[in-house]
Symmetry: C2
Subunit: 250 residues, 2 copies
């Protein structure tokens, strides 16, 4: 498909709990939408185990391939929180304590309650900085184009609010959808023709079988809104040639 | 972390709609649980765009790294359904029509309605075979250790039912959880000690802040149920030393 914004991001989800099926991921879709609002396209996601080598490989690939690389998960105080160590390994630098983060944690927990485990949350890869966490004491961490966010959805979302406007984004991707109530396969030839005639947009076809109705949601994407409308019209005309009903939206 | 089953699978989710944030993935957690029931551990997931090169790279990495590689999405009749072509490219083989699949599609749509677009759903990488689809006419596709499933959750689940017992699995992973109502950071040192004393289990710590309560769900995993119980007891004892309440389960 074409029609991607030119600024891209990758995401490394660090989580045995996702790979075991215990937890349903809630961060990918949220981050994808947030990035799009910032003019950045999410290009690839990798979900890896709480395993140092796996994290290093994924971070190094995506930070080089994409303009930005985000990670979620593994920045808490426990033995299975190894993201900062692994990202430091990816950059080939040491892990150090960040003084500002120590102050924040001391303020949050009380300085007499700042145990070694809690101080873990002030560790950053050397040369890194902090991402504000409006929800709880422990900040996120940034080094170069790698952003280490919390895995808990509410905290991750708070950290993203603090990052609004921080990324150098391109034009956000626009999209418009039309739902056609006909088997996807009956529309397929027409969609190929329309896509070929409009190579500067991306047409996605998402079939459904629900509530006794069969159809497909056709989503047209482009960074230029003006390019989308004629494609939507062409899809509606194709549906009408099949005597199929259509509705705007999904 | 240790305590993985020895048989592993990778998953390539093919979906612009996931990367755009339009669709919330519902397949990763389901497949993870299904694999575990079959004695197979989901080791890595990659979510890639509807892009031939991206699919080839992900499939080739995961089919070599893991015992099994699954894909979801992109096996329908439309122009953006390119999974079969990309997997054929990954194996370096041609795409061919499967006679059995053509018969199935002719029976489903009626042979006079078997358009070129619908015949696309009978295409397989040379040397590949079919995966039964109990929901609609179009089958899934298998070649060697790569299983191409539908992206629509209901259809993907039907295809998995047909694959029960087909994988050579190891022992399924067992797990038991205990919820401790104390800040995760207050438990961290004890958890490190317990993990070090029991290197043959994996202890995951999943903090939560909800409904006014703060705590962490501790999940202990092993293929051997007998190894889990003493670790759960050690966690409960650690919670009691902190005067923290605990509950079995999550």
């Amino acid at each position: 498909m074409v029609a991607r914004t030119s600024v891209s991001a990758g995401l490394v989800v660090i989580g045995d709990e996702i790979l075991s099926g215990r937890t349903q991921d809630a961060n990918v879709a949220y981050l994808a939408k947030w990035l799009n609002e910032e003019g950045v396209a999410l290009r690839e996601v990798r979900i890896v185990a709480d395993d140092r080598d796996a994290i290093i490989e994924a971070v190094n690939t995506l930070r080089e391939r994409c303009d930005y690389c985000f990670t979620t998960g593994g920045i808490g105080p426990t033995h299975d929180d190894i993201t900062v160590d692994a990202v430091a390994g990816a950059f080939g630098v040491e892990v150090v304590y960040d003084d500002e983060a120590l102050d924040m944690l001391a303020a949050y927990f009380g300085s007499d309650q700042l145990t070694e485990a809690r101080k873990r949350m002030a560790r950053v890869p050397e040369g890194g900085g902090l991402i504000e966490n409006p929800m709880s004491g422990a900040p996120g961490v940034r080094r170069e184009n790698v952003f280490m966010l919390a895995g808990i959805p509410g905290i991750m979302r708070g950290m993203l609010e603090g990052l609004r406007g921080e990324l150098a984004g391109a034009e956000p991707m626009r999209s418009q959808a039309v739902t056609v109530f006909a088997p996807e396969s009956s529309m397929a030839d027409a969609l190929t023709t329309i896509q070929d005639a409009h190579p500067d947009v991306a047409i996605g076809s998402y079939p459904f079988f629900s509530q006794g109705r069969v159809g497909a949601v056709l989503v047209v994407r482009s960074t230029e809104a003006a390019r989308i409308a004629p494609v939507i019209l062409a899809i509606k005309a194709a549906a009408e040639r099949l005597d199929a009903q259509w509705e705007d939206g999904e």
